[in-house]
Structure formats: C-alpha cells, structure tokens
C-alpha cells in the first residue's frame, strides 16, 4: 500500500514537471525575443507604381518616355558597398544575354536614393559601368521618398563607422518591372541570377 501512494505522488510530481516544461517551451517558442530589429521599416500593401520625372546627367528623365518598352527600375545608391553591385551586375548580365531584338524592348533605370552624394554625373558613370544602356537618375529627397513608397521600395540611412563618408543606406534590393503601358507588373528579387533574369524578362516580353 505505501508503495502505491509513493507511486501516485511520483506521478503527480512528474505531471507537474511536464506541465512546467511545456510552459517553458511555449514561452521560448513564442514569447522569447532576444533582439529587436535595428530599424523597423513599414511594409506597404500592393504598390501602385506610376510615372515620375527625375534628373539624369543628360537632363530630366520622364518614365512616360519609356512607353512601349519593358522598364526595369532599381532603387539604390553608388556608395552602396555590395548590395547594389551584386544585384546590378546580375541584372545587367541578364540583359546582355537577351537577343538584340529583345534588348531593344527593355530599358533600365537606376534611381539613387542618396541624392546628397550621388550627382547625376556620378550616377551616369556608375550606371554605365554595369550596362551601357542603364540610365542613372535622382531627385529631391521628398520626391524620391514618394516614388519609392509608390513602388513599395524602402530605404533608411544608417551610420556605420567604416562606410564611405560615415553612412550607408539600407534598402530593398528588388528590381521593379514596369510594362510597356506604364503599369507596374511585378519585381525581380535581389541578386536573381542572370539566367533567371533572362527567363523572367522573356516571359514579360511575351505577355506584353
């Protein structure tokens, strides 16, 4: 008899211990947040895209002048240490793999979100380094913010001690695809390999 009681007590203890462990586990899984994100950035609902006029080394560039062509738009900045070169190199390589006929139907804009440092002349040199047809544009900070918001792109300045002139600009690294009618069709993800870029662009060219 005493043995039975001892067993019962043990069982109760075990059950309590199991419950405690389960609670701890649930807390770890759902309640434990060891670190907070550096700069929380808002996410937009379905971005609308739309027309804009920005400045290039050769004067104002109006997105409406690209009607009839598929236009790729990338938001970045020339001091970008690695994210922009990675993405621009992959996209440019994809563009170079299109046939001349296909390439004639595609344009690309590099929109600098760092107008303080990116002059149109600097942008031209930078964009053409990746692809001779790429056009570098920028504008006033409030204009750029409004355009980026419409396209669903985000950027935020971060002070980093070792970065060129004291800051980097964290930003989304998608390439937006605007149709021949000016409508925002979709986006190509960061650093999509050149072959995939070709496949995606050919699909858009077929549909539009």
């Amino acid at each position: 008899m005493p043995l039975k009681i001892a067993e019962k007590t043990q069982e109760r203890w075990l059950a309590a211990l199991a419950a405690l462990l389960a609670a701890a586990l649930a807390w770890f899984a759902f309640g434990w947040q060891p670190e907070l994100p550096e700069t929380p950035l808002p996410r937009a609902a379905a971005p609308a895209g739309g027309d804009f006029v920005l400045q290039s080394a050769a004067g104002p560039v109006d997105l409406r002048s690209f009607r009839g062509r598929l236009t790729l738009i990338y938001f970045g900045y020339t001091f970008c240490p690695d994210v922009c070169p990675t993405s621009l190199a992959a996209t440019s390589e994809g563009l170079k793999r299109l046939t001349p006929d296909e390439a004639a139907r595609v344009a690309m804009l590099f929109v600098s979100v760092d107008p303080e440092r990116d002059t149109p002349a600097r942008l031209k040199e930078y964009a053409e380094f990746f692809h001779p047809g790429m056009v570098g544009v920028t504008g006033q900070p409030d204009e750029l913010a409004a355009i980026a918001r419409r396209y669903g792109a985000f950027y935020a300045r971060q002070a980093v001690a070792t970065a060129g002139e004291g800051y980097v600009v964290d930003h989304t690294s998608d390439t937006y695809v605007v149709g021949p009618d000016g409508r925002l069709l979709g986006k190509i993800g960061h650093a999509t390999p050149p072959d995939e870029v070709v496949t995606i662009l050919r699909n858009y060219l077929k549909q539009n």
Binding site: P81, V83, P85, S92, E93, Y126, Y155, A163, G164
Partner: protein, 158 residues
C-alpha cells in the same frame, strides 16, 4: 644550389610547423569584384574548404590595396538588404564556407587607388589558431565573375 633548396625546404617545414589551420584550408577561386568608378569599396569572394577534422574560424582578412579590410555578411531584414560586419566566418571540419556576392564576403574599404581589371590583390587570411595564409585574388569585372570557370587556387602560407 643544393644548399638553397635545402634552406627552402627547411623554411617550408618551419612554416608548416606553425601554419596550423591555414594548412587545412584550401582557398578556391578567390577574386575581387572590379569596383564601379569612384566606388570607395569593393568585395572579395572565394570558397574556403576545410580539409581537416577541426572547425576553423576565419577571424581577419587583410590586403594592401585598401585602408580597411572587414568580414561582412548580408542580412535580409524583411526585404531590406543590410550589410554588416561579422566577427568571424566559420569553416566546419570537412566543410566549406562560400564567400559570394549577396552573402558572406571580404570587404575592401577605402581603396587607396582604383583597382583595374586583371590586377592581383594579395589577401591575407588569419585564422583562430593564429595561423594565416595569403592568396592572390584577381580583379574581375562583375558579370565576368559569374561566368568564370572554376579554378583551383592554392595559396602560399605564412
């Protein structure tokens, strides 16, 4: 001549004796991405293969072409790509660490002079046991790097 070669092998042996982790690590396809005009920084990329039975950490990289050399990684924070320094790159025993665009990489910050296509940059990699090795990384135009044929580069040890 014999004396010289004897001296040479002795040097190699003594270097090997304390090379440690550097001995276990093979560096494949090291290259530096040609920086866009006026760019103050660029990345270096490679595959680090650990042939040994012990995990190795790459703690530091150095090069004479830039004022600062850092190990960096890309973080995708809700679609926003962020580049941040990392303290070390771990190379698991019998495993490899891939340093590539959009991922882990060596950052050459504040280039002393613009690098040209075809230049060679000696990169010194230092590991957690104090050993190090230097590899020559060719400066390659972006895009060309993606199409580069896989080559085996064996670095010289220090």
């Amino acid at each position: 001549m014999k004396k010289v070669s004897l001296l040479f092998s002795a040097l190699c042996l003594s270097a090997g004796a304390w090379a440690g982790a550097a001995d276990q690590i093979t560096v494949q396809e090291p290259y530096v991405r040609l920086a866009p005009p006026n760019a103050p920084a660029t990345g270096a990329f490679m595959v680090l293969k650990n042939n040994g039975d012990k995990d190795v950490k790459l703690l530091k990289a150095d090069n004479p072409a830039s004022k600062v050399t850092e190990l960096h990684n890309h973080i995708n924070d809700n679609g926003v790509m962020k580049m941040r320094p990392v303290a070390a790159v771990e190379i698991k025993a019998k495993g490899e660490a891939v340093l590539k665009p959009g991922s882990l990489h060596v950052m050459l910050i504040d280039l002393k002079a613009p690098l040209k296509e075809g230049d060679s940059v000696p990169l010194t990699l230092s590991f957690d046991d104090g050993s190090s090795k230097t590899v020559d990384a060719k400066v390659v135009r972006p895009g060309a790097a993606a199409a580069m044929p896989p080559m085996q580069h064996q670095g010289h040890k220090h």
